[in-house]
C-alpha cells in the first residue's frame, strides 16, 4: 500500500465509522445538546463535511466548495460562510433532516476520494497556501484527524444521551 492508497483507506475507514453512527440516530438525537452552548451531533456532522470541503480545495487542487457551488448551504438552511455551528441556532422545524446532512457528507467525499486517488504522490510534499502553512500530506492528515476527533465526540454524545435518558426513565 503506498501513502496515497493508505490515506484513502484510513479516510474511508473513518467515514464508515461516522456513517454507521449517524445512520443509527433519530432526528432528536441529531439536535440534542448536552448543555446550552454545547454542540449538537448535527452541527458536528456538518462541520466534518465543511472541513473536508474547504481544506481539500488547496490540498487536491480543486476550485470550488460544494457547499456553495452545489447549494448545500441553502439545502441545509445555513449561511454561505457557516462551518456547521449555525445548525444549533436554527429552529427545530428549520433544521435539515439526517438524510440531507448525510448527503452533504457523501457529496464531499464523492469528490475527495477520486481526486486523492488520482493525485501523483510527488504532490504530497507540496505546500498548500492558506491560513497556516501545511503540506498536502499534512492537510490530508488534518482532515482525517478532524473527522476522527469529531467522530469521537459524536459517539460520546450519543452514549451520554442514551445514558441520561435511561437514568431518567429508571427514576420515573
Amino acid at each position: 500500500m503506498n501513502v496515497i492508497e493508505h490515506q484513502a483507506w484510513v479516510l474511508e475507514d473513518a467515514r464508515s465509522r461516522t456513517l454507521k453512527i449517524l445512520n443509527e440516530l433519530s432526528q432528536d438525537d441529531l439536535r440534542w445538546r448536552a448543555c446550552a452552548t454545547c454542540n449538537s451531533i448535527g452541527s458536528i456532522a456538518i462541520h466534518i463535511g465543511r472541513v473536508e470541503d474547504v481544506l481539500s480545495l488547496g490540498a487536491l487542487g480543486l476550485t470550488e466548495q460544494l457547499w456553495q457551488s452545489q447549494g448545500w448551504h441553502r439545502k441545509l438552511g445555513l449561511a454561505e460562510d457557516d462551518w456547521g455551528w449555525g445548525f444549533d441556532n436554527l429552529g427545530q422545524s428549520s433544521q435539515p433532516d439526517l438524510r440531507e446532512l448525510v448527503s452533504y457528507l457523501e457529496a464531499v467525499r464523492g469528490r475527495t476520494l477520486p481526486a486523492l486517488k488520482a493525485m501523483p504522490s510527488n504532490r504530497l510534499d507540496r505546500e498548500v497556501p492558506g491560513r497556516r502553512v501545511r503540506t498536502v500530506a499534512q492537510t490530508l492528515a488534518f482532515i482525517l484527524n478532524e473527522e476522527l476527533q469529531h467522530l469521537g465526540q459524536i459517539d460520546y454524545i450519543r452514549g451520554m444521551k442514551q445514558a441520561l435518558e435511561g437514568s431518567n426513565a429508571d427514576s420515573r
Binding site: H6, A34, L144, L148
Partner: protein, 165 residues
C-alpha cells in the same frame, strides 16, 4: 512525507491537542463524569496510554510497561485494566492527573522511538494481534483511537466550562 512521517505527525498533533485540552484542568474536572456511567477525562488519559502501550508491545513483544514499570500498581489499578476502572475508585484512591499523564508520556515516547527506528519493510508484517492488523494498520488504528478520545476530552472540558460560566 512517507507513511511513518505521516503517522508521527498525526500522533504529535494528537498529543499537542491533548495537552491543550488538559491545560488548566483541576483534578475535580478531570475526574468529573457527565453521566452515571460516562467516562471521565482522567480515565481516557489512562486509556490513551494503555492503547499505545499494548499495541506497541504486540509488535515489539514483551509485557506492557503498565506492568513492568509498575504503573498499574502506582495507580492502584488491575493489570488487565484499560483505564476505565479509574472511575470506580474513590476520590482518595484516584491519582493526580499529572501522574496519569506521565504514564501516557512514557508510552508515547516508547511508541515514537519505535516508529522512528522501524525499517519501512516491516510495515507490512502481521504480528499476532486480535484484529489481524498489519504493523501499518496498527499505527493507523492507534491514530484513529487516540484522535477520537482526544476529541472527547476536549468536548468534556468545553462542557464543564460551559456549565461553570
Amino acid at each position: 512525507m512517507d507513511f511513518k512521517e505521516g503517522t508521527l505527525w498525526s500522533l504529535d498533533r494528537a498529543k499537542g491537542f491533548l495537552h491543550r485540552s488538559l491545560d488548566g484542568l483541576t483534578q475535580q474536572q478531570a475526574a468529573w463524569r457527565a453521566c452515571g456511567n460516562c467516562n471521565s477525562i482522567a480515565s481516557m488519559v489512562i486509556h490513551l496510554g494503555r492503547v499505545e502501550d499494548t499495541w506497541t508491545h504486540r509488535i515489539l513483544g514483551g509485557k506492557d510497561i503498565w506492568e513492568t514499570d509498575g504503573w498499574a500498581q502506582k495507580f492502584g489499578l488491575p493489570i488487565e485494566d484499560r483505564g476505565w476502572t479509574f472511575d470506580k475508585q474513590s476520590a482518595q484512591e484516584q491519582k493526580p492527573l499529572s501522574e496519569l499523564v506521565s504514564y501516557y508520556e512514557a508510552t508515547h515516547r516508547l511508541l515514537v522511538e519505535f516508529i522512528e527506528k522501524l525499517p519501512a519493510e516491516r510495515l507490512a508484517e502481521s504480528p499476532q494481534n486480535p484484529m489481524n492488523l498489519t504493523v501499518e494498520q496498527i499505527f493507523s488504528h492507534i491514530v484513529i483511537e487516540e484522535s477520537q478520545h482526544v476529541g472527547q476530552i476536549d468536548y468534556l472540558k468545553g462542557m464543564q466550562n460551559s456549565k461553570a460560566s
